[in-house]
Amino acid sequence: MDFDLSEEQRMLEQSVGRLIAEHYSFEQRKRYMQEPAGFSRDLWRRYAEMGLLGLPFDERHGGANAGPIETMIVMEAFGRGLALEPYLSTVILSGGLIRLAGSEAQRAELLPRIAGGSLLAAWAHSEAQSRYALSDVACTARRDADGWILDGAKSHVMHGDSADRLIVSARIGGERCDRNGIALFLVDAAAPGVERRGYPTQDGLRAARIGLSGVRVASRDVLGEPGEAAPLIERVADCALAALAAEALGAMAAAHETTVEYLKTRKQFGVAIGSFQALQHRAVDMLVELEQARSMALYAAMMVDEADAVERRKAISAATVQIRRSGRSIGQQAVQLHGGIGMTLEYKIGHYFKRFTAMETLFGDTDHHLAALAEAGGLIASA
């Protein structure tokens, strides 16, 4: 058992940390948000140059063949900066689906382009009615002479408005909530019949609602075995949750540091407010939440590639419960301890709070994961 980073991992941590420190001040972030895509295309190119966009991919696909710890390092840094770029959508989710289920031809075509920064992709999976049920897919795909025809609607597609390529889930058989019968399709975002409505989200990022009417997809653009996508979907959702755990951790650490700094500098009644015991205890409770969250982000990284899917899902749900609770508590405390300044859009602390809040709704909220963990028997076997 050891918690040491390797030499390469430490270098990655330093370089990403430096990049975020230099390029993600509050003012810079505000500017990126005003770019047409809602994030910085320049930084995206820089991530590509640094090798971040191909991190988990095989070397022959332009990647670094890195594991979950490397992803954790990158996401933690992005969390500190409240980065706006579509790393989760393009690299973790779409890249993950292609990496895990793509044919050799699909991988060879798409992964190097993602790694190089020229292809943005988004996962069009959740639907208006599906909430957090990963197998609730009403979109349909029916056989056509030379491929498939997709119909339906997708909601909350993260960075769906700027993506070049969509990975769309659709049902080829079974009932709406069946695990069987789901397939994944690679769809050009500009294909006829794809209608996108992009919108900003509460946390300053972007998403899209996507309509599909009679969208034609060639047979070679089916991703993985048609009808058998559910285990893959669950696995990639877990990859996303592990990545989000790290992102949340970075944001929690930054929010806590910022708050403690504020307690030392803000004066009332002639003294720094950090000299008041009521506020000290809140700051310590935040630290406890932060350290517990760090432990569970590590746990998620360790378990995300676990071969036993039941154990993996339990571990990821457990980590998610801790992360979400810590994030909510740290976000709310950070605003409270800042007082009025915590309420203004012109200061970063409120933006951390908003990001925690948004993250809670991704791939299952706290109650969803607590119920899933309990249903699966929990983490400790009974005596």
Partner: protein, 400 residues
């Protein structure tokens, strides 16, 4: 980075597990499992079995009977002991007075006391708290004035755990009343049989006798029984606070309670459904398990980091251990209380001691549930209350 145990660590875990399986006397195991109280004889017997194996004080230096296990193996050892479940060796001996003697005691003191401390030939109690000095320990007033080769001690200690079993007390006394509170304190080893020393029991809310008051009336203590320098006792007492904080989380003990709660909940019916199958119970337990897993990893982080930190530097993660550890100990006793429900109600102290001649009212496991819940409230009070911990963390770690 690898959070799993190495093959060597796993082999060590198996070795420890096998030892506990064969060496732990069945009656002691049963009592620990049921949460029954151990007699003095039980505690002594078990610690001597451990000591015969060379495992009573594994975290001490090899020179004084410890092992070269290092933090990870010590951690594994402690976890396995709590999961066996075996009683802990007496913490006043092995985690408190022993390490202080090793760090600050004279050669003669080490040679005399350490083997006896390890073998529980001497049972130590801790004389720190006083009626006017609880969280504000430095305001203690028990005095020791020098007369020739003796100190003469006068005053009173309170909340002294197991003083009624003890042969010796490590005790903080005021040797310089004119100095600042922290600067005038010395650390003495006091023979509990010394003339002028009286022990009076205090009954606690679990109906038990854990605590005592100890009165000193002109008690003579040889100067040779002072540890370290005169008026430096505060430093030695504080050394303990930074020492062995990882033991305080008691993750293994909380895990064991969860295991039990889940098993017992299968036998308790809510209408036609076992309590264990209700969503509310399962989610409540799962929520504790999540925090316990996080704490377990936090503890392993502290354990692994300890190898790298300079002496006196505290790992921020260690601050979680006492706060979260005690909260979860309390939460797990609460869950057991809820599982037992009305079965916890009958007051049956004879079953706490395993001295009953009649079968208990209700299930065999029920009589211990409420006393455990009541007594575990002390966990967030002793060893520096959780509020004091927060003060200390705010100052030392956050710089507030």
């Amino acid at each position: 980075m690898d959070l799993r145990f190495t093959p060597e660590e796993l082999a060590f875990r198996d070795e420890v597990r096998a030892f506990f399986r064969s060496a732990l006397p069945a009656d002691i195991r049963r009592k620990t499992e049921l949460g029954q109280r151990l007699s003095k004889e039980d505690t002594v017997r078990w610690q001597r079995i451990l000591n015969a194996k060379g495992w009573a004080v594994p975290h001490w230096s090899v020179e004084w009977g410890g092992t070269d296990w290092g933090p990870v193996k010590n951690y594994i050892f402690r976890e396995e002991m709590q999961l066996a479940p075996a009683p802990d060796p007496l913490s006043f001996n092995v985690s408190m007075v022993g390490p202080v003697l090793i760090a600050f005691g004279s050669e003669a003191q080490k040679r005399h006391f350490l083997p006896r401390v390890a073998n529980l030939d001497y049972w130590f109690c801790q004389g720190f708290s006083e009626p006017g000095a609880g969280s504000d320990l430095a305001s203690l007033r028990t005095s020791a004035r020098r007369e020739g080769d003796d100190y003469v001690v006068n005053g009173q200690k309170i909340w002294t755990s197991r003083a009624h079993h003890a042969d010796w007390m490590f005790c903080l006394v005021r040797t310089d009343p004119s100095a600042k509170p922290q600067a005038g304190i010395s650390y003495l080893l006091i023979d509990m049989k010394a003339p002028g020393l009286t022990v009076r029991p205090i009954s606690t809310i679990d109906g038990e006798h854990h605590f005592n008051e100890v009165f000193f009336d002109e008690v003579r203590v040889p100067v040779a029984n002072r540890v370290g320098e005169e008026n430096k006792g505060w430093t030695y007492a504080k050394f303990l606070l930074g020492n062995e904080r990882t033991g305080i989380a008691r993750v293994g003990a909380s895990k064991f309670r969860i295991q039990r709660a889940k098993a017992l909940a299968r036998t308790v019916m809510v209408g036609a459904t076992p309590l264990a199958d209700t969503a509310r119970f399962r989610e409540k337990v799962a929520a504790i398990e999540v925090q316990l897993k996080a704490l377990e990893i936090t503890q392993m982080r502290v354990v692994c980091n300890a190898r790298r930190l300079a002496p006196g530097v505290q790992d921020p993660a260690s601050s979680v251990l006492k706060l979260k550890g005690t909260e979860l100990q309390q939460a797990t006793t609460e869950i057991l209380m809820e599982v037992a429900g009305p079965d916890a109600l009958a007051l049956q102290p004879e079953h706490l001691w395993g001295s009953a001649t009649e079968a208990p009212i209700g299930p065999e496991w029920a009589p211990m549930i409420a006393p455990d819940y009541f007594y575990t409230r002390a966990a967030s009070i002793y060893g520096g209350s959780n509020e004091i911990q927060r003060n200390v963390i705010a100052k030392r770690l956050l710089g507030l």
